[in-house]
């Protein structure tokens, strides 16, 4: 099975986008968009352009991007069993956690169930929530109780307590995000010891980036006190340990935080002066490492995960280009946006 998956990952690796593909996507006439996307291995996105002269609605684009990711993950997990399988399945769960957040926000604003349902990402066979029942709850309280009886009880229970104490939606979102990534790190831990350094490198790049960007955002955009910032970060065991994060959270400016980073990370972030820049630079370094792992003899699960990370990055860039075109932005602005991708995928 590992030979099958290795071959499958190698075949998929050929679908990753080169820089010139994005240029082509910027230049292609609307009428040829569908065939270009299909040619570049994005049939789900191509379907959104069928017979519509290049027009699309933004929600459908988001849903198609996720559908594409889920389709490929479905193929990759087919030969996997046990912890490896549940790790990759959990990786897709962030889309469903995102649905949970949409549901919660919808309930807070009293949105109609039908409108709310239309905004949720279809999860296909990865879906574990009964969206119909959740969307038809009366309020946040009933919704949270229903969620607590479901597959995300572990994540939601904590979020509910935090929300009940403060009634602050920020606390809900923060607790859900933290709960999800802590769950991911927990599932990765047994695999990291058994599958060589590849998976640990990927996870370290992911969690360290999330922790650093969240830390900067909470500390300097939201002005939260250091102890609260530290509490909201993901509890993990990678380069940025708990002690290091406490030290960083206690700093008073972006520059001093960057100056206190471990040397290797500091070198990566030379000349970066703002939070989106930190994200973009760290993501770019992470992508280089993921690409190396993908083309190395690393364990199958590491290569599969590296592929999914890179693929998602590509899809995010494709989305940026398509949105930019839809809004009629000049190519130079869209190219600039590609250097400064969004802060999170959730």
């Amino acid at each position: 099975m590992s030979a099958y998956l290795n071959t499958r990952v190698s075949l998929y690796a050929g679908r990753l986008w080169q820089a010139e593909y994005f240029d082509a996507l910027l230049r292609v006439p609307d009428a040829e968009m569908a065939s270009l996307l299909a040619q570049r291995g994005l049939p789900q996105l191509a379907a959104g352009y069928g017979n519509r002269d290049g027009s699309y609605d933004q929600l459908s684009l988001e849903q198609r991007i996720i559908a594409q990711t889920l389709d490929e993950t479905r193929v990759l997990i087919r030969p996997l069993t046990g912890a490896e399988r549940s790790f990759l399945i959990y990786w897709t769960a962030r889309f469903e956690v995102s649905n949970v957040k949409t549901l919660l926000r919808g309930k807070m604003s009293g949105e109609r169930p039908a409108a709310l349902l239309a905004r949720l990402t279809p999860m296909g066979s990865f879906g574990r929530l009964d969206n119909q029942a959740l969307a038809h709850t009366e309020d946040v309280g009933e919704l949270l109780r229903k969620l607590e009886a479901g597959p995300y009880a572990g994540i939601v229970r904590h979020a509910r307590r935090a929300f009940e104490q403060s009634r602050d939606p920020f606390n809900l979102d923060a607790a859900l995000d933290r709960g999800y990534y802590e769950g991911l790190a927990q599932r990765a831990r047994p695999l990291e010891t058994g599958s060589g350094p590849g998976l640990r490198t990927l996870m370290a790049n992911l969690i360290d980036r999330i922790n650093l960007v969240w830390l900067l955002r909470y500390r300097f955009n939201y002005n939260l006190p250091p102890a609260q910032v530290y509490f909201l970060l993901v509890d993990a065991h990678y380069t940025l340990t708990g002690a290091r994060l406490r030290e960083l959270a206690a700093q008073d400016s972006l520059d001093t935080v960057l100056a206190k980073l471990p040397q290797a990370m500091r070198e990566q972030l030379v000349s970066v002066s703002d939070i989106p820049g930190v994200f973009a630079r760290m993501e770019s370094v992470a992508a280089e490492r993921a690409l190396k792992i993908l083309h190395s003899g690393a364990s199958t699960i590491s290569r599969a995960f590296a592929y999914l990370i890179l693929r998602e990055r590509d899809l995010r860039y494709v989305r940026a280009v398509l949105r930019g075109r839809h809004l009629g932005l000049p190519g130079v602005d869209i190219r600039f946006a590609l250097q400064r991708a969004p802060l999170t995928v959730m």
Partner: protein
């Protein structure tokens, strides 16, 4: 029974205000399967979705109704009066608003009860905690003084978050000291400089911290806690009783009206379900499209005429050739065949116009099971067990009983009873004594079976308008000609008949025709075309050969049955009387459970893979008419 009933596509146009009643009428008749898309009037002609809001309101009302019924219980089957009309959108919205009001009140009671339960748990934990503080003899009044420099908080938080909270609080110079663990909750004292207490409280609210409500009386001395705790327990008991009374009162008030509301929600279901597939419209008109059995058209016209007196337009047409794959299949089965239907449907639903294999499946399955597991005694046990389980498993027991009877019949043919081969003389043959004949018969049966499947597939292709495939493909007439020629060749080789020349000619004609057809059908370059043709033609021969040999397992299992019995007798004969009897009984149980199970699966496998896969695409759509749901939900 062999083919789906002929259907017509209808388009019903009516006043949008009468759409709920029209859908209700269709549901009453139970013959209309809604479908999406209108050939005659595309989205540009009927751009609106007039039933969308109706469906939305119904979904909300239905969800609330289900939750209320789950709370209230005592749900009876619904009786729908013949003259009942479907609610309008306004009615449905009013009903939904009422249901919302009721459900929110119910929810408040329910949540109140949940909160009381949580309070009780908390109180129990507090009692346990205070008993510990009692032993410490701590002066809580001193500890919790509001004007001291030290801010002290006593409370609980999830155990999983304790380390994180301790680490985070250490950044504010605050200490956390755990003094108890109850379930997944840690009870702790948190103490730090009062100047940073706001920061600490902000963090604690994110950590799910829950302050212990320590009343003033307790602060004087923990021993005073006992009476306070008793009072709190009593208060919660009373509160809980009050919540229960509210719930009971609500049931009394809403109960009668709830049944009426349930009826109205049910009457609204048909249009809401039709809207899921698509009800289109424009201005004051609404249009529904779907499928009905051809024989029901006149009855439908009559019913619509009686109800709407000409205020409708109904158009009916035959399915177009390019939409056959989307036409639902409606097949009527006699009662005795019904239990076999799920076994066929677990492979797939026959397409509209395809041969329905349920009847031949039932006969062949039973025949194969009996042939592989022929034993009067074992068959009788299966039959009796299935009969005993009839009440519990329903129609499935019928399959068990029929399989048992088939097994008994073949047991009679083989002269086998509980593995004993020498009590009864075989009526037909004994597999143990004539294995070659059994093998030959199994393969001959396979040839007949495969021939039948090829013929059925040819018929299916012709009815789907694919005459080329029916005549020239490997699973059509050309494949059959090749197959029969090849079988004739093998028969000649065994010396059973001299058919070499005509058989060879048939096989050659068949395989050349298949190859030519593959060549013409493949759309690719010359090299790829040659490769595809060569491989697919070769595959035709190999598949037919392998599928035929697959039927040797029928003989193998009939021999295996005897061999297993022999093994048990050999073991039993080495033991004394009690051991002998025990081994025979246990061995027979093992044969029935283990071998019986394997044979049941093998017979199914032969049907699915050697039979169905050859002629049955299984991707049809089941006919699902609009209906009224009158039975009480089991939830």
């Amino acid at each position: 029974m062999f083919r789906a009933e002929p259907l017509l596509n209808i388009q019903l146009v009516m006043l949008a205000s009468e759409a709920p009643d029209a859908a209700l009428e269709l549901a009453r008749m139970g013959v209309f399967n809604p479908s999406a898309g209108m050939r005659e009037a595309g989205p540009e002609l009927l751009p609106e979705a007039p039933a969308e809001r109706y469906r939305e309101a119904w979904m909300e009302a239905e969800t609330r109704m289900s939750k209320l019924l789950a709370q209230c219980g005592d749900v009876q089957d619904l009786s729908i009066p013949a003259d009942a009309a479907a609610p309008s959108l306004t009615d449905l919205r009013e009903l939904n608003a009422w249901l919302k009001e009721i459900w929110i009140a119910c929810l408040a009671c329910h949540e109140g009860e949940e909160r009381i339960q949580e309070e009780r748990k908390h109180l129990a934990a507090l009692e346990e905690t205070l008993s510990k503080i009692e032993r410490l003899n701590v002066d809580l009044a001193q500890l919790l003084r509001g004007d001291s420099l030290l801010a002290v908080n006593i409370g609980s938080l999830p155990a999983s978050g304790l380390k994180r909270v301790s680490d985070a609080l250490s950044m504010t110079g605050t200490l956390v000291s755990q003094f108890d663990l109850v379930g997944d909750q840690v009870f702790a004292v948190i103490a730090g400089p009062r100047s940073r207490n706001d920061e600490v409280r902000g963090l604690l609210s994110q950590a799910g911290w829950r302050e212990l409500p320590i009343p003033a009386v307790l602060r004087t001395h923990p021993q005073a806690a006992r009476s306070w705790l008793d009072e709190e327990s009593k208060r919660l008991e009373e509160l809980s009783g009050a919540e229960c009374k509210v719930m009971d009162g609500m049931r009394g008030i809403i109960g009668p009206r709830l049944n009426e509301a349930r009826l109205r929600v049910e009457l609204a279901r048909p249009l809401a379900e039709a809207a899921l597939v698509g009800v289109r419209g424009k201005g004051g008109l609404a249009a529904m499209t779907g499928w009905i059995p051809r024989r029901q058209l006149n009855a439908l016209r009559a019913a619509l005429q009686a109800r709407f007196h000409g205020r409708y337009w109904l158009d009916a047409r035959e399915p177009a050739p390019d939409e056959v794959a989307k036409v639902p299949s409606l097949v009527h089965y006699p009662g005795w065949l019904q239990p076999f239907v799920p076994l066929v449907k677990s492979y797939g639903v026959p397409r509209y116009g395809e041969f329905d294999p349920t009847l031949p499946f039932a006969f062949t399955y039973l025949l194969l099971f009996g042939a592989m597991f022929g034993d009067i005694g074992h068959g009788a046990v299966i039959l009796l067990l299935a009969a005993a389980l009839y009440r519990r498993v329903g129609g499935l027991a019928w399959i068990g009983m029929a399989a048992g009877a088939s097994s008994m019949l073949f047991g009679l043919f083989y002269g086998s009873i509980f593995g004993y081969e020498d009590i009864l003389a075989p009526v037909w043959l004994s597999p143990l004594h004539d294995p070659i004949r059994v093998l030959t018969l199994a393969v001959a049966f396979g040839v007949g079976f495969i021939t039948l499947t090829l013929l059925v597939n040819t018929g299916n292709k012709i009815s789907a308008g694919k005459v080329g495939e029916a005549l020239f493909d490997s699973t059509g007439i050309a494949g059959l000609v090749f197959y029969l020629g090849a079988v004739g060749g093998v028969v000649s080789l065994t010396g059973a008949a001299d058919l070499a020349q005509p058989a060879g000619a048939l096989a050659l004609i068949g395989i050349v025709t298949v190859a030519a057809f593959k060549w013409l059908e493949t759309r690719a370059g010359w090299g790829e075309r040659a490769l595809v043709t060569a491989i697919e033609t070769l595959e035709t021969g190999i598949n037919l050969f392998a599928n035929t040999l697959s039927f040797m397992r029928v003989a193998a299992f009939s021999l295996n049955h005897v061999a297993l019995a022999l093994a048990i007798f050999t073991l039993a004969n080495g033991l004394e009387a009690a051991g002998h009897g025990f081994t025979i009984v246990l061995g027979n149980v093992v044969i029935i459970v283990l071998e019986g199970g394997i044979v049941a699966i093998q017979a199914l496998r032969l049907m699915y893979y050697e039979g169905f896969s050859r002629f049955f695409s299984g991707d049809g759509v089941e006919f699902a008419p609009l209906r009224l749901e009158t039975r009480a939900s089991k939830n």
